[in-house]
Amino acid sequence: MSRSTIDLWVGIFVLMGCAAILFLALKVGNLSASSFAENYTIEANFSNIGGLKVRAPVKVAGVVVGRVTDIRYDNERFEAVVSLTLDSRYSFPRDTIGEILTSGLLGEQYIGLEPGGDERALKAGDSLKITQSAVVLEKLIGQFLFNKAAEAPQQ
Amino acid sequence: MANSGQEALVDLRQVRFAYGDREILSGIDLTVHRGQVVAIMGGSGCGKTTLLRLIGGQLKASAGSVQVARQDIGTLNTAQLYALRRRMGMLFQFGALFTDMSVFDNVAFPLREHARLPESMLRDLVLMKLQAVGLRGGHALMPTELSGGMARRVALARAIALDPMLIMYDEPFAGLDPISLGVIGQLIRRLNDALGAASIMVTHDVAESLSIVDYVYFVSDGRIVAKGTPDEIRASKDDFVHQFVHAEPDGPVPFHMKAAPIGEMLMGKGAR
């Protein structure tokens, strides 16, 4: 095996490796949707985030426009503060509502944005005014039972 | 000796070497001058090869000084040692050719590593070295296609590729047929004279060595027991030398390994 033939094979090998990594990045990992070249971060406070995790998608009308990049607890307001990193291609009114939703009955939780009617757009560092916390199944059931119990004597 | 007035190329003074507690060599004095071919002889396992490794700097002496070209091997750092080794050539027992390279590339190896030569000059040099050992025709062969004697000759060409001042041979005659043996012996002498180098050869082949060398050291049990020119050795009255030169089975080097008296061992007293 002469030296140039080895070079050729190594070249082919490296090219194949690059192709495989590109395939993984573009076709499997969908590069365009998960790491935005330009983005901005806003915050949203929730009284309860349920099972929301960092890297959960942020969706508007079902389209992924960003991801949750940080979750922390504000000890003064006793609320969870969630950082949302959004693609700069999209902008939303300032009175946009943020809510924590669940995909399907038992699926993962994500943040849904409900655009409002304000003319000024959200800027980096802004905070969502109106938010709706996660629906916690136990609370829901508890409330349901409580209501049932309250209804019963009237009958 | 004709050239004893000249300064020594290799000079060992009171050298001692031990692996832990096990002493391999002790009190070795040895001198080699430029132009000389010196043989170190002795039975198997007597420390001859260790002596060669001390000179090549692969091992460091536990005591005493090993000087090559007026530099003390024991005090050199890696870079200095490598600089010195570029002026040494060594022929290993079975050639130690690089099995993944052709004969040509094997001989070209030290030149490629140490000298930036244009490919055409490199080619001429390698072919000249191969011509010197009579194997120019085999430059395209792989080491596995060579006989033992031919492999040894290629390794010799590789050892002299950088025109060394000192060539060391580790058992150059081991396992060769009489013709190859004679060829290697003549090559050692001729190359040494042509290069104006010094050669040290570790061997136990008495007849061939005595016919080509200038001086002989006999090593036994880690000590030099006899030394002299080939004529002095042949005429020596020393028991050990006599036994060695005439290949007698018993003498100062006993036939039997040290053991309890045979009667005791067989009757079960000495044996456990």
Binding site: M1, R3, I6, D7, W9, V10, I12, F13, V14, M16, G17, A19, A20, I21, F23, L24, A25, K27, V28, G29, N30, L31, A33, S34, S35, K53, V54, R55, P57, V64 | G56, Q58, Y82, A83, R85, R86, M88, M90, F92, Q93, F94, A96, L97, F98, T99, D100, F109, P110, E113, H114, A155, R158
Partner: protein, 256 residues
């Protein structure tokens, strides 16, 4: 018996120390070997290109099996569209780097150990040293870097091939919806979190396997038996190192 165990433990620690020192020597002399790039290219050829076949074929089969088994399980919960997610995540995060690493250790690692061991046995390393050529720079470092460079490429190829295998079974044979297969996969697989971490894993495995292979060859007892033992040790310690490192890396990377 106890004395034997103690001796073994001391020997183990001694070898670990030597391996660490060896790694430093290797890195120190790597500069010299990068100046002679064709040496490293040659080793990429031997450990990378020549491992292609076994990696590609194994990747395909692992993907096929994942597709079949995954479909069986997911179907019970009525979410067979998630097959793409299952195949892609298991391959990029775990199976790609780990299985490719194990195959690499037994295919290329053992070959490197055998080659260096034989060079030691036939005194080629000593001869090189006597020719003032550092065997660590000339023999060990190119083989080490050849392995380190080859390993992530092989792992990526393994993962890609496995995903294609899963697609083949899931979409082409069983009939899972093609669009759902890819879109669910793309929604769930994250570049930085899953793919880059997988590449980092395979790189770490590449370093571990190459170091073990080169070290065992360099450290072997220079006899036929010593070389064969060294090869066995390369495969065994590489496999253990890969699995242990995988656990450590996974617990760092995929927490929470």
């Amino acid at each position: 018996m106890i004395r034997k165990l103690g001796a073994m433990a001391i020997d183990g620690v001694w070898r670990l120390g030597f391996a660490t020192r060896f790694l430093f020597l290797l890195l120190r002399y790597s500069g010299q070997s990068f100046l002679r790039l064709h040496l490293t290219l040659r080793e990429i050829y031997f450990s990378g290109v020549l491992s292609l076949l076994i990696i590609l074929v194994s990747g395909l089969f692992v993907g096929l099996v994942l597709g079949l088994q995954g479909y069986e399980t997911l179907q019970r919960y009525g979410s067979s569209e998630a097959l793409g997610v299952l195949v892609a995540l298991s391959l990029t995060r775990e199976l790609g780097p780990v299985v490719a690493g194990l195959l690499f250790a037994s295919r290329a690692g053992s070959a490197v150990t055998a080659e260096i061991g034989l060079m030691k046995t036939t005194e080629q390393l000593k001869a090189m040293d006597m020719m003032a050529v550092n065997p660590i720079a000339r023999v060990a470092a190119p083989r080490f870097w050849g392995g380190v460079i080859s390993m992530p490429i092989l792992a990526a190829l393994f993962s890609a091939m496995g995903i294609l295998g899963g697609w083949l079974i899931g979409v082409a044979f069983i009939g899972v919806d093609d669009g759902a297969f890819w879109s669910q996969m793309q929604a769930a697989v994250d570049i930085r979190y899953d793919i880059i971490n997988g590449v980092i894993k395979s790189f770490v495995f590449g370093v571990a396997v190459s170091l073990i292979a080169v070290f065992e060859g360099y450290d072997c007892v220079p006899t036929a038996e010593g070389v064969s033992r060294a090869i066995t040790r390369t495969v065994v310690s590489s496999a253990l190192a890969i699995l242990a490192l995988d656990f450590v890396l996974t617990s760092f990377m995929f927490r929470g």
